[in-house]
């Protein structure tokens, strides 16, 4: 006879089925999370002086590290620069292609295609656009008589340049979630708005936008996470430069671990990143739990 899941043996079977996944998750998510916190309390070791316990000293030197503050502030501006713009564009794109209009399949394709490309490929393409004098942007500006500019070499323009590229890459991805949400709205809403003589802007602001709120929340959470996880483009475009003007937290962690070989300081920085992700997770939990009410 075969065991039914309601049988007491279900505990054994359940855990056995879970075992392969559990081993891998513990090995590459839970254990390293704890190990990172542990390692952050040790000093950087070398051949003469082995690594030893130093408590919170790494955190103290982190707070005095100007580059740490620099990358944190950069990450903040990177998030502020990319998230609202790409979400607004995503809503606009979704609204635009949600109606029957000439060439709709092409339009959707055009908006979405950057999403399917690796960030490295995107960076390779945009590297040329931003190159001084011969790059596409300087060429176009040149037609209007503007002089060339080293977009990625100037600390004042490097972060905005990367922000523009990221918006281009991400807006289409967020668009599909809004499209899905819009397609679930009853078509009578628009009819009613037309009959009532509501203006288009009023209809969007008072009807569509509030109904899209759950989607917006989901997209925002993902956008925040991406702004901390996505650093691939820095490897091609700037290496965090010039003078750390475009450096981001995860890239700085990489530099410390694999260029300066200070894994303990890298662990300390990783704890900060983990704390940020935990805050986002909690925000998501509480916001989704409270639900967003439709007015």
């Amino acid at each position: 006879m075969h065991q039914s899941p309601s049988n007491a043996m279900r505990h054994v079977y359940g855990w056995l089925l879970l075992t392969p996944a559990a081993i891998l998750l513990i090995a590459f998510t839970h254990f390293p999370t704890l190990a990172t916190i542990y390692e952050s309390s040790f000093s950087k070791g070398n051949l003469i002086r082995p690594s030893r316990f130093i408590g919170i000293t790494n955190y103290e030197s982190m707070l005095e590290d100007p580059i740490f503050w620099k990358v944190l502030i950069n990450n903040f501006w990177f998030a502020v620069g990319t998230i609202p713009a790409s979400v607004a564009l995503a809503i606009a794109m979704a609204l635009l292609v949600n109606r029957a209009l000439p060439g709709r399949p092409f339009l959707r394709l055009a908006y979405f295609t950057p999403t399917i490309l690796p960030m490295i490929a995107v960076a390779n393409i945009w590297l040329f656009f931003y190159s001084p004098d011969i790059g596409l942007i300087d060429q176009i500006l040149g037609w209007f008589g503007f002089p060339g500019h080293n977009w990625l070499g100037d600390p004042a323009t490097v972060l905005p340049a990367i922000i523009v590229m990221t918006i281009w890459k991400e807006a289409g991805f967020f668009m599909i979630f809004y499209l899905a949400a819009l397609q679930n709205l009853p078509p009578e809403l628009e009819e009613a708005a037309k009959l009532e003589g509501a203006s288009r802007w009023y209809y969007f602001r008072r009807v569509i936008f509030p109904l899209l709120m759950p989607t917006t929340l989901f997209v925002l959470i993902n956008a925040v996470l991406n702004s901390f996880k996505l650093v691939d483009h820095l490897f091609v475009l700037t290496k965090g430069g010039p003078n750390n003007a475009s450096n981001l937290l995860l890239y700085y962690i990489y530099e410390n671990a694999f260029s300066y070989f200070d894994t303990n300081y890298a662990a300390t920085l990783t704890v900060v990143l983990l704390a940020i992700l935990a805050v986002v997770a909690l925000a998501q939990f509480f916001l989704f739990d409270r639900r967003i009410h439709y007015r």
Partner: protein
């Protein structure tokens, strides 16, 4: 003309205006890709001085292939993505089956611990995961690139949902027919979840085809490097390669995934939407 009539006309006018705007944005959005595509097929002097009817050439592709082993990188990526997806499907199916149908002790806590991976992806913990991989002697192997991603919280989550919505009567019927634990899974649950498997498969393939940071850290030889890492090294400014050749190399690297996407657009976009249910 009534007030309502004016407003309705206003809507029609705005809709026409929106069509123009939609096309304008679309052209702006696709232009960078078209330009890269164009440049890849033209001699490098035209990348700097655009001429629509400049002579076509395949020289850039020949140069790219002779300067870096992109075919080998492509093969590595293919092996990585295939091996990873196969392991993910097996591991996630088993775990999802346990969560959906075996109400075992501690399953709720275990499930929350699985979901932690949605927030903390393995590449966030590069330092510790690298040292784990070194202890396992898996640095610079394709298995090493894939291993941390084989148990995917997202896959377990999606499949658990699918299995939970499968009617229990089907399971009872299969049991009466003499199916065991794995028989039921294989004959009832897996076939009914086929659309979810497709969706998850497409998300996994495109994610790992494009993944960069972790493979960069793990690999250091031509035999293991995936396309993204090869392309990253090739395109870095200090390598001093001509932009037209970089365009050709970029096109070569993204072509397989891009062609698959163009052929199966609907499936791709729907799978990406699925990733929104988490």
């Amino acid at each position: 003309m009534s007030q309502a009539e004016i407003k309705r006309r206003h809507w029609t006018f705005l809709e026409a205006l929106e069509t123009v705007a939609a096309w304008f944005v679309a052209i702006l959005w696709i232009a960078p890709l078209l330009y890269a595509f164009w440049a890849a097929f033209h001699a490098s002097e035209y990348a700097i001085h655009f001429e629509l009817f400049a002579p076509l050439t395949l020289e850039n592709f020949r140069e790219a292939l002779s300067q870096a082993p992109f075919l080998r990188y492509g093969f590595n990526t293919f092996v990585l993505v295939t091996m990873l997806l196969a392991s993910q499907l097996v591991i996630c199916t088993l775990a999802a089956y346990a969560f959906a149908r075996y109400n075992f002790a501690g399953s709720n806590i275990a499930f929350s611990l699985v979901l932690v991976q949605l927030m903390i992806a393995p590449e966030i913990l590069i330092v510790e995961n690298y040292s784990t991989l070194a202890k396992l002697n898996l640095i610079d192997t394709i298995t090493g690139i894939g291993l941390p991603y084989m148990a995917s919280a997202f896959g377990i989550f999606l499949l658990r949902q699918a299995f939970k919505s499968t009617p229990k009567e089907l399971e009872e019927a299969a049991r009466l027919e003499g199916c065991g634990m794995f028989g039921i899974l294989w004959r009832v649950y897996v076939p009914l979840a086929r659309p979810i498997y497709l969706a998850y498969g497409l998300v996994s393939i495109s994610h790992h085809w494009n993944n960069f940071l972790w493979p960069l850290v793990v690999t250091n030889s031509v035999e293991t490097r995936p396309l993204t890492v090869g392309l990253g090294i090739f395109g870095a400014p200090e390598s001093g390669v001509d932009w037209s050749i970089i365009s050709a190399a970029t096109l070569l690297s993204v072509a397989p995934l891009l062609i698959a996407f163009l052929l199966f657009q609907r499936q791709f976009i729907q799978s990406f939407m699925h990733s929104g249910i988490k």
